[in-house]
Every structure is written in structure tokens, then in C-alpha cells.
């Protein structure tokens, strides 16, 4: 059931006609060549949109934090300061690129590369809309976990390579925080996989209903707690908000990327903002019904349906993005030991409890959601979710 954006496009007559005409023109059958071209254009589109979102993330962060503190954010560059991130980009490119003398030159260069590859590779599986997702691997969520663990290695090497005590400590703490918070995130994803019975993103999203009471978050009490465990874990995994100890300005002088200047620092920052978007997207897809539109509006016409689904996915993700930025300016930063105790003594046991709870729920109620059991069991026999 592996379909992707290409198989979605090939359902349209126009695309088939186009393929036929091209293959006629260049002799041999051009489907595989055209799949590559379509994939390449789709990837370039997604990467540019993500870079834009990363840039706008910094702008949004400044504007929202200003709004929370009743002051005005950047408003000089462009209307309402919207072009601020472009100005930052230009500044980043033209700043001098310094590699500290004592540092390990090879690792200094590889670290941002690992971070960027780790974050951008997860975009292949993010479910923007039922047809518009780049590819629907049937190991979707598990692939995402595997690739996003590259970021932890990248951050650690970034800290280790720049050979200053501050960045060393920052890199070490950053890696320890990322890998320890990956456990609650993985266990809450497992709970959702138990309920929807499949690893590919499409089955995880289609297992829910468009209407809010059909979402996974209200499926049963365990997934309700699971959403908050996932969200806290996602916050900690992208070094955000109350858990941004590795780059704690006051103590570690911006932690692991102290020594990075100019463009290299921009990669770490871009990777972080895109990772926040990807994790918010994952939370929206797994718990808040992803791209499903309430009452499946626009069922008939495919193009309208795709845009509605894309809109529903992006609004949910941006709402979570707003919460992430909002949390950053309201909660104080955690100390290292509070950070670790929160993870190992509170989040992991709760996540394990949720997983066992979901398995029992799956067995006793055959995976039917709370709403179906309470309201629909009597009158209409609801066949699970479909």
C-alpha cells in the first residue's frame, strides 16, 4: 500500500497523457524518469517551504514573545518586520566563518551536516495531505524516529569538536537530554501504533475521524495523557522552552554552538526550527487527526479535498507551534537534575503505563474509541472506525 505523491498524480488523466507524450518524444518509457523529476520538484518545494517556515519561525518567535511581553517585535525590515528573517539570513552568510584553532576541523564541519540531514530526511514521511505527502513508507513513524536520532549525534559532535569547555558541556548535556527524552516519545508513539495497527503514517492518520471527538487524543484516557507526554518529550527533544539547557544563554554561553559563527550557526538554528515544526506535525498527525477534515468536506473533487486536508494539517501544526513559543516565554528553565528526574522518574513510567493501558484497551474494547463505546454502542453498531 506504498503510494506516494507520484502515484497520487498518476491517477489524473492529465498526468497520464503527459507521460505518454514525453515517452513518445524520447523513445523509451519515461515513467521512471518522470517519477524522478516529480519527486525532485516535490522535494525542492518541501525543502524551500521548510526553510521559509524555519525563517518565519524566528520572526514568529520574536513577534509572539514581544506580544506576550506587551512590546513590539521587529517592525523595521519590510511591512510589520516580516522580512526580518531575510535580513538575518544575509547577515549570517556575510559573517566571517571562524573555525577555532584547537578544534577538530573535520568534526566541526560534519556536525551541522549531520543535524541538517537528520532533520530534513524526516520530511519525506510527514503527512501533509492524503495525496500530497512525499512518500508513505510503511515503516513511516519508525523511520522518522531513526533519522531524527541523527540530530543527537550531530549536536554532541558540534559540542565536542569546538574544544571549549562551555560547548563541550553544552554538547554533552544536549545529547544526554535528547537521547533520554526519546524514550517517552517512542513509548507514546508505540501506544498509538497499538491502537491503529500499522506503522505507515497514512494508517495512523486514517485510523482517526475528522471530527474532534474522533481524534486519537480523545480516544481513551491513556492516549489523552500520552499526548501530553509526547508533547513534553518533543519540546525537550528539540531543545526548546523550559528544556533549553544545552544552549542556556546565562550559564553555558549558548552551549554547543558557542564557537560556531555565520552560516554554520544558521544551520543549527534552521535545523532546530524545522525540527520543532516536524515534531509539532507528528503530534498533530498522531493525536489531533492530522490532515483529516471534519465531516470529510470536499470528498468529491480531489483537488479541493487535498487543499482542505493540507490546510487542516498546517493549521493544527501551527497552533502547536504557537503553544511551543508561548511556553518558552512563560516557564522558567529546568536544572539538569530536575530535567533528568522529570524524564526518568515521571515521563517514562507514565509512558509505560499508557502503553500497557492502550494494549488492555485494545484487547477489551477492540480499539473502539470512548465516544463510540458510550454513544454509538446502543443505537448503531459502529464497525470500529471505518
Amino acid at each position: 500500500m506504498n503510494d506516494s505523491i507520484v502515484s497520487f498524480l498518476s491517477e489524473f488523466a492529465i498526468y497520464k497523457a503527459f507521460v505518454a507524450s514525453v515517452s513518445a518524444k524520447i523513445g523509451f518509457d519515461a515513467t521512471s524518469l518522470l517519477t524522478f523529476v516529480v519527486f525532485f520538484i516535490a522535494v525542492l518545494l518541501v525543502v524551500n517551504v521548510m526553510a521559509l517556515i524555519g525563517g518565519l519561525g524566528t520572526y514568529a518567535e520574536r513577534k509572539i514573545s514581544a506580544d506576550l511581553q506587551a512590546r513590539q517585535g521587529p517592525n523595521r525590515v519590510g511591512p510589520y518586520g516580516i522580512l526580518q528573517f531575510l535580513a538575518d539570513g544575509v547577515k549570517m552568510i556575510t559573517k566571517e566563518d571562524i573555525i577555532p584553532r584547537m578544534s577538530d576541523k573535520f568534526l566541526f564541519i560534519v556536525a551541522p551536516l549531520l543535524c541538517m540531514v537528520g532533520v530534513f530526511a524526516t520530511l519525506a514521511v510527514l503527512p501533509f495531505a492524503s495525496g500530497l505527502m512525499l512518500t508513505d513508507l510503511n515503516i513511516g513513524v519508525f523511520y522518522m524516529l531513526g533519522v531524527s536520532s541523527l540530530v543527537g549525534v550531530g549536536i554532541f559532535l558540534g559540542g565536542y569538536a569546538s574544544n571549549s569547555k562551555w560547548s563541550m558541556l553544552g554538547g554533552m548535556r544536549g545529547a544526554a537530554q535528547i537521547i533520554s527524552y526519546e524514550i517517552p516519545v517512542t513509548l507514546s508513539i508505540l501506544a498509538i501504533v497499538v491502537l491503529s495497527g500499522g506503522l505507515s503514517m497514512k494508517t495512523l492518520v486514517e485510523g482517526q475521524l475528522g471530527v474532534p471527538w474522533g481524534w486519537n487524543i480523545f480516544h481513551n484516557p491513556f492516549t489523552f495523557i500520552g499526548f501530553f507526554v509526547f508533547f513534553i518529550g518533543a519540546l525537550a527533544e528539540s531543545n526548546r522552552a523550559p528544556f533549553d539547557l544545552p544552549e542556556a544563554e546565562s550559564e553555558l554561553v549558548s552551549g554547543y554552538h558557542t564557537e560556531y559563527t555565520g552560516m554554520r550557526f544558521a544551520f543549527f538554528a534552521l535545523a532546530e526550527y524545522v525540527e520543532v515544526f516536524v515534531l509539532c506535525g507528528l503530534a498533530a498527525a498522531l493525536f489531533l487527526g492530522g490532515y483529516l477534515v471534519p465531516f470529510n468536506l470536499g470528498k468529491g473533487l480531489p483537488l479541493l479535498e487535498q487543499f482542505l486536508q493540507l490546510g487542516s494539517f498546517v493549521t493544527k501544526t501551527l497552533l502547536l507551534y504557537y503553544v511551543v513559543i508561548w511556553v518558552r516565554w512563560t516557564l522558567p528553565r529546568l536544572r539538569v537534575d530536575q530535567l533528568m528526574t522529570l524524564c526518568w522518574k515521571y515521563l517514562t513510567p507514565i509512558a509505560l503505563f499508557n502503553l500497557i493501558g492502550c494494549s488492555f484497551w485494545m484487547y477489551f474494547f477492540e480499539g473502539k474509541s470512548l465516544w463510540v463505546l458510550l454513544f454509538k454502542s446502543g443505537a448503531k453498531v459502529a464497525a470500529g472506525h471505518h
Binding site: 571562524i98 524514550i183 497499538v194 477492540e366
Partner: protein
């Protein structure tokens, strides 16, 4: 030669290559635009102003290794649990859900006893202030 269609993985490969090219490209573009006047001071590690002394690779607390250890054990556990969790719904529909439930419970209880042991023995609590290992 093989009727093997792996086009589903094409975006993964393209994304990784495009990310790498983005990094290398931006650095190359910047290389020509950027000023380049290395002064000795500029190239030292940043020590809030003082001159850096000694290499940074000093002793580290063993706590970090215990965290990595517990992480990898639970990572492997989740790697094994994913296929079983993915199949639970299908097995439940054909009436064998109880068997899978029991297997999952045994698997999890053994690992929960592991983390309970580490909790009890105090491996999980993080030392407040940074002390070098006592011995």
C-alpha cells in the same frame, strides 16, 4: 533487471542529498563573500574573555554513560515492540489478541523490572552539583 520498484524511497535519498548540498552550497557561496582576516585572538575558544587554558577534554561524570545505557536498552526494546504493536490489531480481529496481549505484558514487565532496579539503586538520580567521581 529486477521488477523491483523502490521508487518509494526516492524522496528519502533526494532529501538527504539536497540537505547535504544545501550545507555545502551555502558554505561555498559564503566562502567568497565573507571577509577573511584571521587574528590570533579571534581563533581561540571563547572563555568569557579570559585566555583559554588546557584542553577541554577533561574528566566527565559517569552519569552520562548510565543515561546512554538505559536509552539503548529501551531503544532496542521499542525496536522489537514496533512490529508486535503493529500486528496487535490484526491479531485481535482474528481472535488471537489475548495471546499478543500476554506477550506484550511479559516483555514489558521484564523491562519495567530493569528500570525499577536502576531507580531503586539510585542510578537514575542525577547528582546535584558537579563533583568529580569520588574514588
Amino acid at each position: 533487471m529486477s521488477s523491483y520498484n523502490l521508487d518509494v524511497y526516492m524522496p528519502v535519498a533526494i532529501l538527504m542529498i539536497v540537505a547535504a548540498l544545501l550545507v555545502v552550497g551555502a558554505l561555498l557561496v559564503g566562502h567568497f563573500i565573507r571577509p577573511h582576516n584571521p587574528t590570533k585572538l579571534k581563533y581561540d575558544a571563547y572563555e568569557c574573555g579570559e585566555a583559554p587554558e588546557g584542553s577541554a577534554w577533561s574528566h566527565f561524570n559517569i552519569r552520562f554513560y548510565v543515561v546512554g545505557l538505559i536509552f539503548i536498552i529501551f531503544d532496542v526494546e521499542s525496536a522489537l515492540m514496533f512490529p508486535v504493536a503493529a500486528v496487535f490489531k490484526k491479531m485481535n480481529e482474528i481472535g488471537r489478541g489475548g495471546l499478543v496481549l500476554v506477550e506484550i505484558l511479559i516483555f514489558l514487565s521484564v523491562l519495567i523490572s530493569g528500570i525499577a532496579y536502576c531507580w531503586r539503586k539510585g542510578d537514575l538520580d542525577w547528582v546535584k552539583s558537579y563533583q568529580a567521581p569520588k574514588e
